[in-house]
């Protein structure tokens, strides 16, 4: 490792090991004031949530280990906004605060119905009759057709979000899974879910559940383990893998129709096509907002990139597709972004335009911020951001079902990793050209068997095209396996040895944040 003369850089503001900021970031008077106001807004959301059901919420924090992670959300949002200025900061803060607002509302619903917190409560039982649980990687747009019910992504709140917020949150649960015999090589996502089931740390909610094979083999298997504790009437919604083929679409639609029948039976509600149509129309508009963002990112002054962008996309696609408030937020953010692009401003140092491919690392959610702040690498395009891009034809019920089937098949962690290896490979080279990129950052998620099995094809493809590509090893959400520091190390070695560059901020090249959330 080369040694650099350490000027006072961003890392000097971080506490050793915990990487807690000694003081919040100075972004210039205007941006700092804006950041402060958004921080106040966030705390307003959190206080409102806490005050709405104080006893219930304290009980929840006391009962569930994963709830502690939510107490660290302000710090998490700070990390996702590290180094951001102008429209990037504004877009990020608005998206994140909307996310906080929706998540707190859902947590209220969850805890109000949770029989662990309200054993024997008739009120909770009544609430549960209107709660439909779905596998968290199954987008809940279908729930728009049951407007009197709440469709909840079951593992999203105890598992997926905490894994992003606090890198240590999965560790205990993965240990439990492995204590019970689960091999250590399986992907941490299903392993974390299995650990939650083993510890009985899922909220006890819902009247029925839709499980699925999303996104992969590991998730199929963990479902069987989880169902033993969840103990709800359940049905599998099988999402086809060869989604590029027309031949599987009839089956895909058949599965959705069957799922609707199942939900009607267990909720006592009839599927509301008008409400569902409205939800699809709103989702289409949300998608159009996303297309605008991608258009702007193709310019020389990409305004909306980085961690909060892909995180928001995942959440929007999975949890708030068809939500009017989500659309309102999107329109507002797009106005902010357009303004900056129109003004020709770019308040950041960009040395490289990178395409980031494969699933990013949950236990280093703000990796994009580090890439930009340390090495000037701007994440102009991310694979995880590109899913569910087809608009739903709302002209008929059949076309909407077909659109929803497509929405599922091209969902988070599905759109590229399934459908054939050519989907993931060809799309990478296309995006590289489309976004005028000059390098690729390939996430090498070591326990992802589906993508790991074509590692060599990516290497050879990049070599053949003369594209600089750095492979960053990670283990999705297990920080004990590969640390953030090791991930940074992979990039550092590449940037120094292959690209022969010096960092934008030398203080960020190497620092200890093992105890950081």
């Amino acid at each position: 490792m080369k040694k650099f003369t350490l000027k006072k850089g961003a890392a000097s503001n971080l506490q050793d090991k915990t990487a807690i900021q000694k003081h919040r970031e100075w972004r210039g008077p205007q941006d700092t004031a804006y950041d402060y106001l958004q921080w106040c807004r966030l705390w307003g959301i959190l206080i409102k949530w806490a005050a709405s059901h104080p006893v219930q919420n304290v009980k929840a924090v006391w009962r569930y280990r994963w709830m502690f992670s939510y107490l660290t959300v302000p710090s998490f949002f700070d990390r996702l906004c590290e180094g951001q200025r102008g429209a990037g900061l504004r877009g990020a803060r608005n998206n994140l605060n909307y996310l906080a607002s929706d998540v707190t509302k859902t947590l209220t619903t969850i805890f109000s119905a949770d029989m662990h917190l309200h054993p024997g409560s008739r009120k909770a039982e009544e609430l549960n009759k209107k709660i439909i649980c779905v596998d968290e990687l199954l987008p809940n747009l279908l729930g728009k057709g049951f407007p009197d019910c709440k469709m909840i992504l079951f593992q999203e709140y105890p598992m997926y979000l905490p894994s992003l917020i606090n890198q240590h949150s999965p560790v205990h649960y993965i240990e439990q899974s492995e204590l019970y015999g689960l091999p250590a090589d399986v992907c941490p996502l299903p392993s974390f879910e299995a650990g939650l089931a083993i510890e009985d740390d899922f909220p006890k909610i819902g009247c029925c559940m839709l499980t699925s094979n999303m996104p992969c083999d590991g998730s199929i298997m963990t479902t069987m383990l989880q169902e033993r504790r969840i103990d709800l009437p359940s049905q599998v919604l099988n999402v086809p893998l060869r989604w590029k083929e027309d031949e599987v679409q009839e089956y895909a639609v058949g599965e959705i129709t069957s799922a609707i029948e199942f939900l009607e039976k267990h909720t006592g509600q009839k599927f509301d096509w008008d409400a569902f149509t409205k939800g699809c129309e709103i989702w289409n508009k949300q998608n159009e907002c996303k297309f605008e963002k991608w258009d702007m990112n193709r310019t020389d002054i990409p305004p909306h990139t980085g961690s909060s962008a892909w995180l928001y996309r995942i959440f929007e696609h999975q949890a708030v597709a068809g939500e009017p408030l989500a659309l309102k937020n999107d329109l507002k953010v797009n106005r902010i972004l357009h303004k900056q692009v129109a003004a020709g401003k770019c308040p950041k140092t960009i040395r490289h335009r990178a395409v980031l491919w494969n699933t990013p690392c949950n236990n280093y959610a703000n990796f994009n911020n580090w890439l930009l702040n340390c090495w000037g690498i701007e994440s102009v395009c991310e694979m995880i951001d590109i899913h569910g891009t087809d608009l739903i034809d709302t002209s008929s019920r059949e076309s909407m079902l077909r659109g929803l089937a497509d929405h599922y098949q091209t969902s988070t962690m599905r759109a590229h990793t399934k459908g054939g290896s050519e989907v993931m490979l060809d799309s990478l080279w296309e995006k590289y050209e489309e976004y005028n990129a000059d390098m690729i950052i390939m996430f090498d998620q070591i326990s992802c068997k589906g993508v790991g099995a074509i590692n060599g094809l990516f290497e050879e493809g990049a070599m053949k095209r003369g594209i600089p590509m750095v492979r960053v090893r990670q283990d999705l959400m297990d920080p004990t396996s590969i640390t953030r520091r090791e991930m940074r190390g992979d990039v550092n070695v590449f940037m120094q040895s292959v690209m022969n560059e010096e960092p934008v901020d030398p203080s960020l090249v190497d620092f200890d944040d093992d105890q950081s959330w």
Binding site: G181, P183, N213, M224, E227, R242, E250, A453, N455
Partner: protein, 397 residues
């Protein structure tokens, strides 16, 4: 016991991916169709002049090339197949019938395709999607996928007869092989069985990896030999088990079991006889293709099937095998890095033990089992525990 007829010939055949019977059948105009998984209906790959070859990579040594292309956390079976293809050991293949039902296995054919590893101008491939629960629309999908991605290319590109009559003829031939196995399988229920686990596994493997037409005469003779074979007077088995699990094509596994004096009474693993070596019933009132596809879905024991009824079916089948084959316990084996069987093993080792009351051992193993001291030790310990249990039970009675 005296050596089983043709056993050494079978061992010789199993030393090569492209054995002499395959090459002989190809010379006679046969179309070699490789496959790896029960999701691909074996019997349909034997229509007309096509013949199925369930792919193995015997005598696998280092996996350096596959490690580069596929990473080291991929199951040994898929890496071994890839390595073998890279080395040129699969140039005999005319068609690779795969299924997108295991994300690791499907990548083998995708890597082969991208890297153009099969030096055969006729080489083609087909990949099917398959449901993971039984339903009418799922059966329809499966049948259409098999027809469109496997049978249609075989017919159009290789001139293979995939008509209803050809399918029925393939089923008849398949059933003849299965009948042999059903009879031999019954012998495993004997108190002092006249066939060893290793021998049975070898018979299974040759039936999967050699053309039916070529291997059938040999199997018939082996069966004749078995009918009159006498087991050794001294009963050497200390315990009987049902082995359940993932892909297992290394019969050294059975040697390890035999060295521990543990009899594999029934084999419920991929490349085993259950399922796979039971006769397929056909009626005349429905297209054979539909019946065959439905049969394969209903009898499929892959843990990928996630509906409640299939989960229950897998457990009940194992319970029934323990009963029917008079086993003392269950060994659930998992190929390292197999996601499906990693979870199934974890769960069912406990479920079968605690809910079904059957002593169960869960193990994981490499693709190549030979020389695994750890496996041998664990088997020894399990056999001893089964013996003790029998003694205690006998004492109590």
């Amino acid at each position: 016991m005296k050596d089983l007829k043709h056993i050494h010939y079978y061992e010789k055949l199993l030393e090569q991916t492209a054995n002499e019977l395959i090459l002989k059948e190809k010379e006679a105009g046969g179309v070699a169709v490789g496959y790896t998984c029960y999701y691909v209906p074996e019997v349909l790959l034997n229509c007309g002049n096509a013949f199925s070859v369930r792919l193995r990579a015997p005598n696998t040594g280092s996996l350096d090339i596959s490690q580069y292309y596929m990473s080291s956390f991929i199951c040994g079976y898929t890496r071994a197949l890839f390595e073998r293809a890279f080395e040129g050991g699969m140039n005999f293949l005319d068609f690779y019938a795969s299924s997108d039902t295991c994300q690791q296995m499907v990548r083998v054919v995708e890597n082969i395709r991208e890297l153009e590893l099969i030096n055969n101008p006729r080489f083609g491939w087909g990949i099917i999607d398959a449901p993971l629960k039984i339903s009418p629309h799922g059966n329809k999908l499966y049948t259409e996928q098999v027809r469109d991605h496997l049978l249609k290319p075989l017919a159009e590109n290789y001139g293979v007869d995939v008509s209803d009559e050809a399918i029925r003829a393939a089923v008849r031939e398949h059933n003849e092989i299965c009948k042999i196995f059903e009879e031999i399988s019954e012998m495993r229920k004997e108190d002092n069985p006249r066939i060893t686990p290793r021998e049975f596994h070898i018979l299974c493997l040759v039936s999967y990896s050699c053309p039916n037409a070529q291997i059938l005469p040999y199997l018939r003779e082996t069966l004749e030999d078995l009918r009159t074979r006498e087991a050794d007077a001294d009963k050497r088995w200390r315990a009987r088990v049902v082995v359940v699990g993932s892909e297992l094509d290394d019969y050294d596994f059975d040697e390890i079991m035999e060295n521990a004096r543990c009899y594999v009474a029934a084999d419920r693993y991929c490349f085993g006889s259950i399922p796979g070596r039971q006769q397929i019933p056909l009626t005349d009132d429905e297209p054979a293709l539909d019946q065959v596809c439905r049969y394969y879905l209903e009898t499929n024991q892959c843990p990928r099937f996630m509906s409640h009824e299939k989960i229950q079916q897998r457990r009940d089948l194992v319970r029934d095998l323990v009963r029917d084959y008079k086993a003392d316990g269950i060994v659930i084996e998992q190929a390292k890095f197999c996601d499906f069987w990693g979870y199934e093993r974890t769960l069912n080792t406990q479920v079968m033990q605690e809910e079904y009351g059957i002593p169960t051992l869960g193990i994981d193993r490499e693709y190549v089992v030979r020389g695994s001291g750890q496996l041998a030790t664990r088997m020894q310990a399990f056999v001893e525990s089964l013996e003790l249990k029998k003694i205690r039970k006998g004492g109590a009675e």
